[in-house]
Symmetry: C2
Amino acid sequence: MTIREVGLRDGLQIIPRTVPTAAKLAWIRDAHAAGLRELEVGSFVPARLMPQLADTAEVLAHARTLPGLVASVLVPNLKGAERAIAEEAHAMLVPLSASHAHSLANLRKTPDDVVAEIARIRAARDAAGSHTVLEVGISTALGCTLQGEVPASEVVRLVQAVLDAGAERISIADTVGYADPAMVTRLFEQVLRVAGERFDTAHFHDTRGLGLANCYAALQLGIVRLDACLGGIGGCPHAPGASGNVATEDLAYLLASMGIATGLDFDALLALRGRLAHWLEGEPLHGSLWRAGLPKTLRREEVAA
Amino acid sequence: MTIREVGLRDGLQIIPRTVPTAAKLAWIRDAHAAGLRELEVGSFVPARLMPQLADTAEVLAHARTLPGLVASVLVPNLKGAERAIAEEAHAMLVPLSASHAHSLANLRKTPDDVVAEIARIRAARDAAGSHTVLEVGISTALGCTLQGEVPASEVVRLVQAVLDAGAERISIADTVGYADPAMVTRLFEQVLRVAGERFDTAHFHDTRGLGLANCYAALQLGIVRLDACLGGIGGCPHAPGASGNVATEDLAYLLASMGIATGLDFDALLALRGRLAHWLEGEPLHGSLWRAGLPKTLRREEVAA
């Protein structure tokens, strides 16, 4: 079971403050030292659109020096993918909004335009002889603030289309925090029938408190990689003040308590959360474990196992 | 599916501030108007031990005037039960700590002493020709801050013992917020084998963020009554600053989103939460829904259904 820490991308992208590159490098070092082995470190988007992620190449280069660390980046299009390939990211995640309305508003492309771009990305990756894994993240897959409901049938259709276009891995994202565990179960079962083991990753926001319940539902279906952000950063721009991604430390506790090995050091994780609060001064952090600490019944040797 | 609002008892019992009786009566009226149909309104304990609940008889009398409202009280012993019977509570909940250490520290009785007291309570109830339902709440059933682990076998033994002693309904409580969904599933399956439908209620704290995930696990096993507190009040005295019970409004949202009818009016619930903040001025409230609001995809007619 892998927790992919996405704070450096999904956390920072909606925070206006720019975290200095030196702090990002320390963040990555500390996350690695705490036992995290997959990090989404940034996004190859034009710097004028997202100046806070303009140092993604430098951050990625640093992450690639740490032993055993899988460093991924988000790429919105072929141009971004070409950078990810050139900079030798271990994986690149192409987001595809299952909501037509969100896709147009966000990327000025229809979902099917993105499918076509994914085919071009796969061709470019193969032509370069690159090993960068091509993951497609189906976003707004459980509802959309613009469009409202997103039919499961459309999600399934798009999953099949991106697999045909060459996606190697599928993640499903509840981008705006609309999911509940029953919705997760229904949708994921359908996607698994199409994608099998290639659908192995889920991404939940905790906007309305259901983030960990949704993670639990995903676990029950065999999902092996869950995205999260230390301190639950990454609030949704459509829900001001709402908490963002599932908090890494709380998800790690859920897994450890259930006896699922994570290899994480909770003291180190919580110490990093404290430094994050400093770097993001003024931004609210979320989560529960930092306040209550580990329960007496959770043995440290179990946690580390 | 019933949400039992326990803020007037579990929420208030650890808050030093005494809420005026008039405010409690308004709280009950508003909770009833928002659609809540089961309330734990107080506890028949000596006033010197818990002055903030000293008006329980008056509060209960008011709750009994509201149509369709089931009003329960906590009773620690026969003396309290005699008051609950005399005041015609619809139900009385006798707590029994599955943790030997907690039972001694809290009640100066062993769990088996409490079993014997439950037999006396059942006899007194029957002798009075009373209709007050006798519920036993197995507390610290998923771990204890004093004792650490509480063996499931001991919980099961005690459930059988209290059923033999005359308990009509069993609830299981994660008093200190140590549970995870896998623990809930394992323990509840064992208790259901012993108690069948008489085990129908669960009580979770959200100390480490797993409250709603645990509720979801309980729902999957057929539990039909869940305790909660508006604003997630009821922090654990052993985890200062930690959030308390599962927040009623978040649990209501979980259920409504899953299509489980609750009959609750979210606007009224959140308005009452606001008044609660006023009455408890200075006490932290918790939960997520109040910040983000209902998602666009949840239709109001579905919520009310």
